[in-house]
């Protein structure tokens, strides 16, 4: 059973609101950088950058982070996940980083991302923006900017689809999947 909970427009509005919130909280764009977590986080970061450009006329530096090598379950997966490139074309030192991902769930991806970021340098702050927060945290991590809070049960799947990644119109759906096999992408 699939329930659509966000469509193209609601995603666009949520991202625009997040952009405003980021600017408000950081009092402008000074030292501000965006880093998206592969795959969909990277596309969302790009869209937020576009929103900020519309609002402030400023293009923020954008990085893409692949956290595969920092996963805490690498020794448990049956097949090594494909590693993709990390591209962070700027120095993180003393920067205000906004980390962007699609869904915040257990918090483990963000934990891995934080470890990875620290290896790249010492930012002034790291904030977290997510499109969906579905709860069920396993680590003490919270988001600074949330597109939509969606209480879920563990048996449900949140599926974020983006034009850039999925060849499908933007949408967020909940799948009621029986007994999850549990080999989802991080």
């Amino acid at each position: 059973m699939t329930t659509k909970i966000m469509d193209k427009d609601s995603i666009r509005r949520a991202l625009m609101r997040i952009a405003h919130e980021i600017l408000e909280k950081n009092k402008g764009t000074e030292n501000l950088c965006l880093i998206g977590i592969r795959t969909r986080g990277a596309f969302l970061a790009e869209r937020i950058r576009e929103c900020i450009k519309q609002i402030e006329g400023q293009e923020l530096p954008l990085g893409i982070l692949d956290i595969t090598l920092y996963r805490d379950d690498l020794t448990k997966v049956s097949v090594q996940p494909v590693v993709h490139e990390t591209t962070i074309p700027f120095d993180l030192h003393e920067k205000k980083i906004v980390l962007v991902d699609d869904v915040l769930f257990t918090g483990r991806t963000i934990r891995a991302a934080l470890d990875a970021l620290i290896d790249f340098g010492r930012p002034a702050t790291i904030q977290l923006a997510v499109l969906i927060d579905r709860g069920h945290r396993e680590l003490p991590i919270r988001a600074d900017y949330v597109g939509k809070n969606i209480p879920t049960s563990l048996g449900q799947d949140i599926n974020v689809m983006l034009e850039e990644a999925d060849q499908h119109a933007d949408q967020v759906v909940i799948d009621q999947s029986p007994a999850k096999a549990g080999q989802g992408e991080p």
Binding site: D66, T75, S78, Q80, E85, T86, F120, G182
Partner: protein, 313 residues
């Protein structure tokens, strides 16, 4: 595609897709080596033993850096000097090492087939770092990576491999890998250092370096092992250098953008002149850089474990 292999023994056992996955994965790992903190935690807690029955600085260092940049613990065992006396069992040595709960063994040995022997008898993953005259898969992979980096492809390229083909594991592995990825390979060297039936490996064979230079997009020069050849296989090193050594003058007729490779260490003035080794065509140092990335990719892929995945989000 999914990676399922536990050992890297040779390239004969890999499909074209598997070779391409290694090359693709290495691309990501190359970036890791450019960071300030050149280390990722991917193989934290894994133990890797380098069991080298033959002396090696370059390959061993490259593997060691690769393992360390993935946070694996490494131990070096140079079994070269003392314990390779005839009659001593390689398998026995390896079994003893494995008993210390080692996850992966990187082995180099002067006898062909030693990595296969270990893979057949041990639980640990085995990586071949060179066995006899047979195989040196990571060298061939890093060579292919370097070629692909330069040309954006391997298919359809003309690659010349020049030198002692008979005794070269680098040549054998490259022939197998390059032909699998669709390159046209020509081997070139003195007739005494050319294996009979080499054409059965899907390559052309030439005894004229000039002709090979003219056709090639990429020229791979092999190290001439001076100790070995001087006695019976060649009249003299001097004559070899003159006929089969590459210098700037001989490259005059080469295609524009020809790339010169060498697995190292080079005998300057024999396989190639210093000006060629250090010249614009040379990618010899790129090969060394890429070696670490390839070896990281190989270690990362092989050490994939067996339990089911945990959801991360």
């Amino acid at each position: 595609m999914e990676w399922t292999k536990r050992h890297l023994l040779d390239l004969e056992g890999l499909s074209q897709e598997e070779i391409e996955l290694i090359l693709e994965t290495a691309k990501s790992f190359k970036e890791v080596s450019t960071r300030d903190v050149k280390k990722v935690p991917a193989l934290r807690g894994k133990t890797i033993v380098m069991l080298f029955f033959e002396p090696s600085t370059r390959t061993r260092t490259s593997f060691e850096l690769a393992a360390k940049r993935l946070s694996a613990d490494t131990i070096n065992i140079a079994a070269g000097g003392t314990s390779t006396t005839k009659g001593e069992s390689v398998l026995d040595t390896a079994r003893n090492i494995e008993a210390m709960n080692v996850d992966l063994i990187i082995v180099r040995h002067a006898s062909s087939g030693v990595p296969h022997l270990l893979a057949k008898n041990l639980q640990a993953s085995i990586v071949n770092a060179g066995d006899g005259c047979r195989s040196h898969p990571t060298q061939a992979l890093l060579d292919m990576f370097t070629i692909k980096e330069r040309f954006g492809r391997i298919e359809g390229l003309n690659v010349g491999i020049v030198g002692d083909i008979l005794h070269s594991r680098v040549a054998r592995s490259n022939i197998i890998g390059l032909t699998k990825l669709g390159a046209n390979v020509t081997v070139c060297g003195p007739s005494t250092l050319m294996p009979r039936d080499i054409e059965t490996m899907g390559v052309k064979c030439s005894y004229r370096l000039e002709e090979v230079i003219e056709q090639s997009d990429c020229l791979m020069l092999l190290r001439l092992q001076l100790e070995r050849q001087t006695q019976k296989f060649l009249p003299s090193i001097r004559e070899y250098a003159k006929e089969f050594g590459v210098n700037k003058a001989k490259l005059a007729k080469a295609k524009k953008g020809i790339v010169i490779m060498h697995p190292g260490p080079t005998n300057r003035g024999v396989e190639l002149s210093a000006e060629v080794a250090d010249g614009e065509y040379s990618v010899i140092l790129d090969q060394v850089t890429n070696g670490v990335a390839i070896r990281m990719a190989v270690l990362y892929l092989l050490l994939g474990a067996k339990e089911p995945a945990v959801v991360l989000a």
